[in-house]
């Protein structure tokens, strides 16, 4: 295992110390509770917006803490959802009297831990609403299963909903917008390589020189199927088509195109994928009204990418464009 770390068990704490050292104007780290909190939290009269999940997906979520996005993030161990204590501490820290929104990616672990935290916060009289993101079209959705995973849309949702929360909108409206965003977005990802969970020390799965995994999640887990390596054009097709169909995107519609790197894939390749995606959308007369490209929701050093399309309307565009100032996303300020 080749990583820029010291002791494996200190990796997450040291990462947080690094964030505190570089971004003191944006956030503070509560090491006892292992949470990252917006520097000026709690913001009076504003709905607190928090999220959390395993570490190893950086910059998500800690890199999205700051004005116009998250009020706090709860990082768990690598690929392990955080514990209710962290979420409760974060909920308390950001509650400005208007309640708190929990943004939860749909994984059993995240859902169960946030559920317990919400119960505990409720018992303390803090109003909590939860939105569970589930945008991964690689996974069949069904009442009888764990359902779709929450992936790329989570990033876009945190930005848009965070921007809306800044307006002082009430919790019910903030949660409602969150649901809208989740409904309008879909994602799918692929991997060229596995990744090494530091505590495990070896790759989660083995992949041949001429193989790739299609339909992966963000925890280094294998995907829906293993296929032969293909050109970027075909790979983009494999990811984009299920999204376009599932969203039922029609000619004339506008989307936010999000080309995400899994952590180990260089930008030159992401732009090549973006080019293929743009061709596919152009061919269907779908407009890329906004875009995001880079490593935003990752699986450690995994090589690969994911595509997320979010159907846009003027409301979503307004809050996507709203000022944001976090370590990983910044504009308008």
């Amino acid at each position: 295992m080749k990583k820029l770390i010291n002791r494996v068990e200190d990796a997450v704490k040291e990462e947080l110390a690094g964030m505190q050292a570089l971004h003191p104007e944006l956030l503070r780290v509560d090491f006892e509770n292992q949470i990252v909190v917006r520097a000026d939290a709690p913001v009076r009269g504003k709905v607190g917006v928090i999220s959390g999940g395993g570490s190893g997906h950086e910059p998500m979520h800690g890199g999205f803490v700051g004005r116009g996005m998250l009020d706090a993030a709860c990082p768990g161990e690598v690929f392990t959802s955080p514990v209710p204590d962290q979420m409760l501490a974060a909920t308390r820290a950001v509650n400005g009297g208007s309640g708190v929104l929990h943004i939860v990616k749909n994984y059993t672990g995240d859902v169960l831990n946030f559920e317990m935290a919400a119960e505990l916060a409720g018992a303390e009289g803090i109003e909590v609403e939860s939105i569970v993101t589930n945008d991964d079209v690689a996974v069949q959705d069904s009442l009888y299963t764990a359902g779709r995973r929450g992936v790329g849309v989570t990033v876009l949702l945190e930005k848009i909903v965070g921007g809306f929360a800044e307006t002082g909108a009430p919790l019910a409206d903030v949660a409602a917008l969150a649901r809208k965003v989740n409904d309008q977005g879909r994602s799918m990802g692929m991997a060229l390589t596995s990744c090494v969970v530091p505590a495990a020390g070896k790759p989660t799965f083995e992949l041949g020189e001429d193989e790739m995994e299609i339909g992966i999640g963000i925890h280094g887990e294998p995907g829906r199927r293993r296929v032969k390596l293909a050109p970027a054009s075909e790979i983009t097709e494999m990811l984009a088509m299920p999204i376009i169909e599932d969203l039922g995107l029609k000619s004339g519609e506008r989307v936010l195109a999000f080309v995400n790197g899994m952590g180990g894939t260089p930008l030159i390749e992401l732009y090549i994928v973006a080019n293929e995606l743009a061709k596919i959308l152009r061919g269907r007369d779908i407009t890329i009204a906004r875009s995001l490209i880079g490593n935003y929701i990752t699986s450690l050093e995994m090589a690969g990418c994911s595509i997320t399309l979010l159907r846009l309307n003027d409301e979503l565009i307004r809050y996507w464009d709203a000022p944001v100032h976090t370590p990983a996303l910044r504009w308008g300020v």
Partner: protein
């Protein structure tokens, strides 16, 4: 003779040991159909339990188990944290105030634990989870009790049933938890949580009857 507070404490000590020894094995199982952390999670959780235990080991069995539950909830994370945490919490409630557990108490405890897991995780048998190890274990315990076979035999049969249940997860298609994302590809692999459940019962049996 019943399970005493001492048995309970010895069980938890040995369990921490066993889970540490099986850290890589459980993580390996989780690599195949999950995210390669189950062994790491369980080991972290029971290390924490070992730190909390001294403060409560003089108390009743219920208090000890509740402490285990809250500690797991606070330190494990993932799916197994809330699930095993709830299981031990419910087991603790079911054994509140007791310093000795007889056959019927053990059955009640196991039933409470399994109910807790089902209530949290909404999994039913056959979904390739820890529920598939614990459900047959409870059934076996119940009829060992009905037949008055004694505590040792009850635990022995429960452990055996858990082991079979664990093996039975291999051909299952996962519909709950992370493994469900693999769809068909989840078939042919043993469920890590069912495996840790078996280890928990096996260690209970061994620590009671060394």
């Amino acid at each position: 003779m019943p399970i005493t507070t001492e048995d309970t404490v010895r069980w938890l000590h040995q369990l921490a040991q066993v889970l540490h020894e099986n850290r890589d094995y459980l993580t390996q199982l989780d690599s195949a159909i999950g995210d390669a952390d189950h062994g790491i999670n369980m080991d972290r959780g029971f290390k924490a339990v070992m730190e909390k235990l001294p403060a409560v080991e003089q108390m009743d069995i219920g208090s000890i188990l509740k402490t285990v539950g809250t500690t797991l909830v606070s330190t494990v994370g993932g799916a197994s944290g809330p699930l095993y945490g709830t299981a031990f919490l419910r087991a603790g409630i079911a054994t509140a105030g007791k310093h000795e557990l007889y056959e019927s108490d053990v059955v009640t405890m196991l039933e409470a634990a399994l109910e807790g897991i089902k209530a949290r995780g909404k999994a039913r048998p056959g979904e390739k989870t820890m529920v598939d190890a614990l459900t047959p274990a409870l059934a076996a315990a119940k009829d060992a009790e009905a037949q008055h076979l004694g505590l040792a035999e009850l635990l022995h049969r429960a452990t055996g049933a858990a082991e079979n249940g664990m093996r039975a997860t291999i051909p299952m298609l996962a519909t709950k938890g992370r493994a469900s994302y693999l769809g068909e590809r989840s078939i042919g692999h043993q469920d890590p949580g069912a495996t840790s459940s078996w280890l928990i019962l096996k260690t209970l049996f061994q620590s009671f009857n060394p």
